[in-house]
Amino acid sequence: MAKDMKHIDIEEIQKLGWDELIPGAALFSFREPVEDVVEVPMEERPYAPTNSHEWQVGDWRVEKPVYNRDLCIDCQFCWVFCPDMSILSRDKKMIGVIYEHCKGCGICVEVCPTNPKSLLMFPEHMDNDEALKRWPQKEEKKKD
């Protein structure tokens, strides 16, 4: 049964058995041609449902990184070292975490240089507002 892979619904794909898709079919990144991908930010791309961007892996996490704008110095360490394209930065500013794609590895928290950190791991079920209320105070430098 031939399927239009560019316009198929994600839920429809998920319900299909593997043998119902076209064996060897091209998996499209976009629904329509994008001439110059580097010029088009994520939010404006016509992603096809066969692009993993349209899927989510957020349920892999047990802990999530929470972002505190008040402490952030926009150094972009979290952006460059996030393995999963899950730190959203625009115009040289860190904006937040893409929770659909974040796997909760904790790298962004480890590399964040502020004191206290501007990103911290909290239990997945906790509200972000609640997490922000519980943010720790500045840590004194340990004397060697």
């Binding site: 998996l27 990144s29 994008v34 791309r45 692009n51 993993s52 892996v57 070292f81 115009d91 659909e100």
Partner: protein, 332 residues
């Protein structure tokens, strides 16, 4: 066209062409390397990927995580795929048969970049003959080895990149063995000895060094080899959040020195100059022990009966660092 990336803030303006919700492990370095390589340029990129974690987890039917042209090829021939694309591209360009969108970019000075990604198993071992052939023939492409020192995708078997003392599923440490018996193969020198114009070793934790080298590699004509350190949380057995720290320990201890080798050839293909540059010098070289201690794959080396392997490690790393410095000094 070389993309201007003065600092990290500028780099963060990049629009990724590699997508989230792929199925790589949380904290995987392969992804960080791929992002840094692709974001090093705004030119079109064509990627060939050998079987291995990267290919298996970024193209799980019916999904793709690639917004660039992407070819999956067998485990052993990423270099052939990339070389073939490169040769075909050159013919199409010469005959004026490029697709209009590509031709437009070429006219703007944005030549497509052809990149092969493969693991150490696919590079040091099984893909070696096709890699060697493609380099000998001199095709214009970049080959990036994602070196996690193990066949990770099939459950952690040793490769010729696995360093001595590492416990893997086929070199398990136990009461009669300290783990892997062989020293890691010197892939960077082997590839440089093919006469490639540019060969370099990088770590994703030193993003600027990596990006600079990739940009240099894109600028030269001919085959370019990049050996990328890829800390693997699953097989090195460190916590996912420690990926960058473990990578840094490798660099700061000189276990993973950052350097480049540049070969210059005359019109007859004769190499008249070879230069090795160390691109990062740790302020204070830390003991190898600290790098080993951060990874449970080496845990058994800290038992009294295996301590001699740690001494051996330090000796080997010191000797290699000395060798690189001497070559740099001598300009060879």
């Amino acid at each position: 066209m070389v993309k201007k990336i003065k600092n990290l803030k500028e780099f963060s303006l990049s629009n990724d062409r590699f997508e989230g919700a792929n199925l790589m492990c949380p904290g995987c370095s392969h992804n960080i390397i791929v992002r840094e390589v692709l974001n090093a340029t705004n030119d079109p990129v064509i990627v060939a990927t050998a079987t291995g974690c990267l290919e298996v987890c970024t193209a799980v039917y019916p999904k793709t995580s690639w917004d660039v042209s992407w070819i999956h090829i067998g485990f052993e021939n990423a270099a052939v795929a990339a070389a073939t694309v490169s040769a075909a591209y050159e013919v199409m360009k010469r005959k004026g048969k490029l697709p209009p969108a590509t031709q437009k970019m070429v006219d703007e000075g944005r030549e497509p970049k052809i990149v092969a990604f493969a693991g150490d198993g696919g590079t040091y071992d099984i893909g070696f003959q096709s890699l060697s052939g493609a380099f000998e023939r001199g095709h214009n492409f970049m080959y990036v080895c994602l070196d996690n020192e193990v066949y990770a995708n099939t459950g952690g078997q040793r490769s010729s990149s696995t360093p001595i003392g590492a416990s893997t599923t086929t070199s398990p440490a136990g009461s009669v063995s300290y783990g892997e018996k062989m020293q890691k193969k010197s892939m960077v020198e082997i590839m440089a000895d093919h006469g490639a114009p540019y060969v370099a070793q990088v770590s994703p934790s030193k993003w600027k060094d990596l990006v600079k080298k990739v940009q240099k590699g894109f600028e030269v004509y001919g085959p370019v080899y990049i050996n990328a350190q890829s800390a693997c949380t699953t097989e090195w057995k460190h916590a996912p959040e420690d990926t960058i720290e473990v990578s840094d320990l490798g660099v700061e201890s000189c276990v993973w020195p950052l350097y480049e080798i540049i070969n210059e050839r005359d019109e007859h293909g004769i190499i008249y100059s070879t230069k090795l540059n160390i691109t990062y010098r740790p302020k204070k070289k830390i003991p190898v022990e600290e790098y080993l201690a951060a990874q449970p794959r080496f845990r058994h080396l800290f038992k009294p009966e295996n301590r001699h392997i740690i001494d051996l490690w330090q000796k080997a790393v010191d000797a290699r660092w000395e060798y690189l410095q001497r070559r740099e000094e001598a300009g060879v």
